[in-house]
Subunit: 351 residues, 2 copies
């Protein structure tokens, strides 16, 4: 993909304004809160319904968060929106709007920028968020992407990282480790291709982990599901880093300890298969991998009956007093202290 | 500055979280709307006072928008906030909050990131906006900065680009062309230094244009001044590109023509002096330069008496029907059609 970006020579004959218009043409308005989007010095929203407004900004850099050698730009556009809205879901809120800004070298063609925004628009449709603005600029080298998302919730519905209490059940949506193994697979095929450019990438049969890496989905149904069950999480955090790091972040914010069980960490069969091929323990992939964009949350023990046997999330352990530490009970009964994943140079999760 | 960034070798012994904490420590809350800033998955604001909420995102790339050879990072932090809040003032609204995200190569020291945020905090204090979030990540090369700003206004106070009508007076705050000439000066000294590294940069006596380039101020008093005079602009736009481009943007949005007068374009004496030294026509600097972060707006002719002889803005011309074109009347009586400045490769002003 990278080579393609830099070598194609056809050019689309519209300037900056035409490009923005192209992006704007595909805009769909999903929320009545959006009064005015692209087209003036600022976007205008009517938030005056008594609700709270949520906002989060993220930035993604080429070579750090994504590799255009194997990442289709459309998927990348989808993924950055998924990452952003997950932050809003993690507050138990509803995402409403996003802005997406790009700094791209002038080697990147306008057609590829539009491809990226096709992915953004697809994600907007899926999560029902309005693209209300953004900025485009050239860069000297590489692509940097900045996303800001807004959301809303009634005050009493908002869930912080800091609300976990002893005996609360620790839960996680979906399954983990797939995005990490998808990345390992893509990196392996890239390395083989670099050694011998006539190699055909061996990607068939690996759809699941590839999708987890390239086009992750946010668990958007959780908030409504729990509301219907009349269960409000006591704390919640999004899984952009690995499970271990995020459990520690949640426990730090709540000043709590916890105990989780290796055998309860949800790993998909395809992830497990892939892990075996790479000789990686799937639990290590789940604990340290990152980019799963699932939700980690706690609910009071008394709510167990209401949510048991659901197929949306797994109960992986429970909250303890802080002096009990943050531990994982392995299948053989041994207990290991959870450590944040080392792979944290990207400064992710600033907020 | 660039050399200094890359060569200094002392390192500050706190990781990502420590760095965020350092930034957070200097946060001041100015607005009751800010309920929760940095520290969870999203910031929370209470916008439920019946007002509208405004939001704008911008992105700035090293080598395109700024050159660290001569730009102190503290000034850069100040400048990006100035650019962002000017977008909100340009809607006749009050800025409330910003998020600032950075992608920086790991050659950049944490101390320099903090210096940048010192500038951000200084600007926050000046414009009374709350830093409510942001993101930090590494990049493979260079610095990219993304800023999102929110603001508020009563619905009936909001001013769009599109409201100008024939006979309206075209006004501009402050004076123009200074930022452009400051840039020319810095580029000249950089070129001399590159030829002979023992050259001392000759910057003394040029304070005004340097300040206009490195630490511009947004005309934050305009909104209140006009409100006191009971004058509501009919249209408004911020001057991030040159005056000519922004007049054309405003006229396009309003579907109007205009006539401005060369002799009325406000240029500071220091800017004029500098222009002479560079053999540049100061009016060309004002029309095509950019980065002045002043406000261009229109008011109804009937309001002339209320605002005449003010020292905050100049009346540079008036609005015409669209078929009259967009023209500048030169001192010698000749009439020239306004053209957007050529220097627009940076895709600035997407919204």
């Amino acid at each position: 993909m990278k080579e393609e970006l830099q070598n194609e020579n056809t050019s689309i004959p519209y300037g900056k304004n035409g490009l923005v218009k192209k992006i704007q043409e595909k805009n769909v308005k999903y929320n009545s809160q959006t009064i005015f989007g692209i087209g003036d010095d600022a976007s205008i929203s009517d938030f005056s319904g008594g609700k709270k407004t949520l906002l989060r900004s993220l930035i993604f850099a080429e070579g750090i968060h994504f590799d255009l050698t194997y990442t289709p730009l459309k998927h990348l556009g989808y993924k950055v929106v998924t990452a952003a809205v997950t932050s809003i879901y993690a507050m138990n809120a509803k995402p409403l709007q996003i802005t997406v800004s790009l700094a791209v070298s002038n080697k990147v063609m306008q057609a590829h920028i539009l491809e990226f925004f096709d992915g953004v628009h697809a994600a907007c449709k899926n999560y029902k968020v309005d693209l209300i603005g953004g900025d485009l600029t050239t860069s000297r080298k590489g692509i940097t992407i900045a996303v800001t998302v807004t959301g809303e919730a009634d005050d009493e519905e908002i869930v912080y990282r800091s609300g976990a209490k002893p005996t609360d059940l620790l839960c996680v949506t979906g399954d983990l480790g797939g995005a990490y193994l998808g990345l390992q697979l893509l990196e392996r095929e890239k390395a083989l291709f670099n050694l011998n450019p006539e190699t055909q990438p061996q990607l068939s049969g690996y759809d699941y982990v590839l999708k987890r890496q390239l086009k992750p989905e946010s668990p958007k149904e959780l908030t409504d599901y729990l509301k219907k069950k009349e269960v409000k999480p006591t704390s919640m955090i999004s899984l952009s880093s690995g499970l271990a790091s995020e459990i520690i972040n949640l426990c730090n914010a709540s000043n709590m300890g916890c105990e989780i069980f290796q055998e309860r960490i949800p790993v998909a069969p395809d992830t497990e298969k892939m892990a075996k091929e790479f000789n990686i323990d799937p639990v290590i992939a789940a604990l340290n991998g990152g980019e799963d964009y699932e939700l980690l949350f706690t609910i009071e023990l008394k709510n167990y009956e209401k949510i048991k046997n659901n197929d949306m999330f797994s109960i992986i352990g429970s909250i303890n007093a802080v002096d009990k530490g943050r531990n994982i009970v392995m299948k053989d009964g041994s207990i290991i202290t959870l450590e944040p994943s080392i792979n944290n140079q990207t400064f992710q999760n600033v907020q």
